[in-house]
Symmetry: C2
Subunit: 603 residues, 2 copies
């Protein structure tokens, strides 16, 4: 593999080459001292983006990059045209899919009455103005999933891409997918994505939810939230829109998204029956799944584990059913006194998903919504059913991950991941937090960031972020950023705790910069360079402070790092010698004491 | 015990009685629907404050209250006069202390040259304008510490106060103190405090650091930060001032603080020798400790575990020594090629602290400042020495807690608390975070809140907060609030995980309010009612939205809690019946399956 710069041909060669802003979406200014480059694989169109941070000491640090072409100054992005279909040739070359006319788009797909004019879309071009396209699906009845390919021993371009991105051999990617321990969500109708993988063997991933509701927000805002979320590190985005224009919003989001997009088709199905849960049917649901699969949705949350007989188990709960999909299906089951159509038609659903390579995200419709309800029988009964459904999905070669809670106190978290891994044969776990206390609305990114870090350390593959607005309102742009940053912290803390190869390189580079008073490097290496720089500059804005051997926190006399440097300057050689002698003596002491484990000499 | 209201005599009886703002310090508006009351103990002057939240369903929820008289509308506070000396009569009645002339205050105590005019204090009354007082200390050589009393089997007023506050029998408080598993920091010269306890048997506590540095901030700001921090729940406050006017700043903070105040005397000692570490001496240090003990400092961080022979162990660290005190003492040891005067004079120091009941906080001067340095030999060598010092301090009947790190990845956290508890005979652990990754400057309240919650779950008694400004600058008012709220979350999450009696009552009350759409109750019960209300009102400001059965997050059609209610309304009785049957059947099923632990039916 080789490295390619994303600098423009006319660009300079210094480290100040920043990406430019795009016309229509503000992807945020990337700090000076960084630029985008690519790791090139076995073919020229297999180029994996990385964020390269140029340090003032001449070293480079390479970081995982989810921001898509928006941060590449050599790419001319335009949200009205959409991103280039990166994977299209790979998909076509496999020869197992074909275009077809597809399902006609109807006004009710956007929540409009049959008689409504398209003007309801507020002058956006009908659905999407970009290149015309026909949907694609499996040519025969055979699944066209990454799971099917992996089981046949094939390493797809997507797998190679992911292997480069994760810095592991392609065989490991293939084997983890084949075993069902990882998923690579990549609908054949979403060729724009930069492939990524979700599995405990790999870096912990973060999902950001966006989506309008009937009360607020617009299509433009949702597209901007998506690019904004990926700018800060979201690995996937779920579009949970429930108001009007959801078909069109989703189309715009998909055509512009460099990351896999997830949805909950039930939300749109419910809109199609005017919000009356009891009028839902398999036909409406099936139609919606096909509609979304044709658009390119990469993974779908399906609450097929909410069975009629589990609903009574929630009767004495403190907070009942808190999943939207779960409560809708529970209401349907009770209204009809029948088993959930999602459960009874599950095999048919598998066949549909297999023909587009849509990944299942089996929803936890009965997840606990309060500390009091954590780990109760309703929750674990549903989990057992998700285990059965996981087995069925795998038989159909559909990639599958399992969703998890919710609100769980710290001492009950580990049971969740352990049970899920056992019952679902190590299928990737994808959890919402969990929130470790109920007492802090407006700070639930933090109550849940604690639980998220812990459950990811113990094996959860992807974390669904929670924003400060959880329980209170729809997140705005700032909330999205705060949610993503908080969850990147949780994910990275987990990568460190899991001993993920290379994870600590980032911490080490930043700590080196901190110790050596390379303030600019410390800012550029930060998860959020802008805020780190702004906080520093609040009290010491002048340029010389960027190389000063102190900050306003302690001032020059009390800077421990400055004193540490003075010590090394004045006593360096003798300290090194003493360190050698000291460590050797300590080793002998340790051995003499019977190598007692509570006093480790090294890690 | 009985309950007393803090309503003014003329006040109404409805739930809208809020405390008023004080004249000089903004302690924040307490939300409508709350007021302060007192639990009265065995004597009229033993009144323990609580925050009572009045719910719209007629119930009250009683919460621990750290905010002091500032939130009591019946108390006329004035920061120039200071708080009433609540404990004075208790201390005098014990008869084991006496007033004495005390050490004269000198210009250099405030970092001024001998010739400087007092004008350096910027027109604040010299030192403090409030009631004149003489310092007090043990009358004989016998210690006057809560530890000494507890060992003699006595239950002091302070212990009874704490028992009411924690809702446990007084004997437990006494026994935990006697065993050294808890400390009750209460200098005889700080009679203004509302006693509190730090120990793993009790609620997890939070400390907030304040303090000016040579670069920024003023006396008034520091006093305001102290009242602001306690307003949001800080249990103790450390004044880490290092610039000018530190004696005067401390006096103002102490006279107005309802919570114990901690300091690091070494900082002021260093100021007295113009910032030249090598000129420090036992005499200067001893003088400073007495100066601060006479003022009323309740606990002091002493870095007596940084021994000469440990300094070489830091030579190969990524970030050297990151504790200010640790680096100063390391520099002194190397400059003199002598053992630390804090170590060699430790017994004399114990005698001084015992005569004022100042609590030791044995500092971890060699704590890791980066993920790379966590749990290394330097850190654990110092911990072993802290264990020795703990034993010596206990022999002198000085209350003692032990400070802990720092920067530690999640998988290395538990070793820290386990080792500390073993080596230090279960003395309370008091940790700074730990930060679970280095990559997020500007978000280190979150990187550390994760580690703090975990280490508190495993037994840490008090958490030192970290603000968003950590590593970057001095925290302002907003940062102090964010830091305290984040750490209250961590502490409460730990209380839940430890199964602390009563902790979940708060979560349950809030979750009930949430499920029943009692929005005002949800706000009033929140850790931060103001922000919760503001976030909700951003999208649904109108008054009817405060009783609406949805919020802008999902809108009315998709509100899972609304649907849950509809389900209970329509199917309630049959669900209850089915729940009975279902649970009974599940119990049989469970028993038949051999009571396998991975599917618990109840918690």
């Amino acid at each position: 593999m080789t490295m390619q710069d994303a600098r423009t041909p006319s660009g300079g060669s210094d480290a100040t080459d920043g990406p430019r802003d795009t016309d229509r979406t503000d992807t945020g200014r990337t700090a000076v001292g960084q630029h985008k480059s690519y790791v090139v694989g076995s073919r020229p169109d297999l180029r994996v983006p990385v964020r390269t941070v140029h340090l003032t000491n001449g070293n480079d640090v390479t970081l995982y990059d989810t921001s898509g072409p928006y941060t590449d100054p050599s790419v001319d992005t335009d949200v009205r045209r959409g991103l280039a279909p990166l994977r299209e040739n790979w998909i076509i070359a496999r020869g197992d899919t074909a275009e077809y006319p597809g399902r006609p788009v109807r006004p009710e797909d956007d929540g409009l009455k049959h008689t409504s004019p398209r003007g309801g879309l507020r002058n956006l071009d009908a659905v999407f103005p970009g290149r015309p396209r026909l949907p694609r699906r499996g040519r025969t009845g055979e699944p066209v999933t990454q799971l099917a390919y992996a089981r046949r021993g094939e390493i797809t371009q997507e797998m190679e891409y992911v292997a480069l991105r994760e810095n592991v051999p392609s065989e490991i990617v293939r084997d983890e997918i084949a075993a069902g321990r990882a998923v690579l969500p990549a609908n054949v109708n979403h060729p724009e994505i930069e492939p990524m993988i979700i599995g405990k063997r790999f870096l912990v991933k973060v999902n950001a939810n966006i989506g309008n509701s009937a009360v607020t927000s617009s299509i433009e805002e949702e597209v901007e939230k998506m690019t904004w979320a990926t700018r800060w590190g979201a690995d996937t985005v779920m579009d949970l829109s429930t108001g009007r224009n959801i078909h069109t919003t989703r189309e715009w989001v998909l055509r512009n998204s460099p990351v896999p997009i997830g949805t909950v088709p039930l939300y749109q199905a419910l809109e199609k029956v005017d919000g009356r849960a009891e009028e839902l049917s398999w036909d409406v649901y099936r139609d919606t799944v096909i509609e979304q699969a044709e658009q390119g949705v990469d993974y779908m949350t399906v609450h097929a584990g909410v069975l009629l007989r589990y609903v009574p188990l929630t009767a004495r709960r403190k907070t009942g059913i808190v999943s939207r999909g779960g409560s809708i299906m529970a209401a349907w089951c009770l209204a009809h006194h029948q088993e959930s159509f999602l459960y009874t038609h599950f095999e048919e659903l598998c066949e549909i998903l297999a023909s587009y390579d849509v990944t299942f995200s089996l929803g936890d419709g009965l997840r606990p919504g309060s500390i009091a309800d954590a780990n109760d029988e309703a929750q674990f009964a549903e989990l057992r059913t998700l285990g059965e459904l996981n087995t069925i999905a795998k038989r159909h070669q559909v990639q599958t991950m399992i969703e998890g809670p919710g609100h769980v106190p710290m001492h009950k978290i580990k049971e969740n991941i352990d049970l899920q891994q056992e019952i679902c044969e190590e299928a990737p776990f994808y959890t919402l937090g969990p929130l470790t206390t109920d007492i802090a609305p407006a700070y639930d990114h933090i109550t849940s960031g604690i639980g998220a870090a812990m459950i990811a350390w113990w094996g959860t593959a992807m974390l669904c972020y929670v924003t400060p607005k959880e329980h209170l309102g729809l997140p705005d742009r700032d909330d999205v950023k705060t949610g993503v940053i908080t969850y990147k912290i949780a994910a990275h803390a987990a990568d460190l705790a899991k001993g993920h190869e290379g994870a600590q390189t980032w911490d080490d580079a930043l700590s080196d910069a901190r110790f050596e008073f390379r303030w600019e490097d410390q800012f550029n290496l930060a998860l959020d360079p802008d805020t780190a720089r702004a906080f520093h500059d609040e009290t010491l804005p002048a340029e010389p402070a960027k190389t000063a051997h102190f900050c306003s926190m302690c001032g020059p006399k009390f800077c421990s790092m400055k004193i540490s440097h003075d010590i090394r300057r004045d006593h360096g050689t003798s300290l090194e010698t003493e360190a050698e002698l000291g460590m050797a003596a300590k080793s002998r002491e340790f051995a003499a004491a019977g190598n007692r484990v509570y006093l480790p000499l090294t890690d």
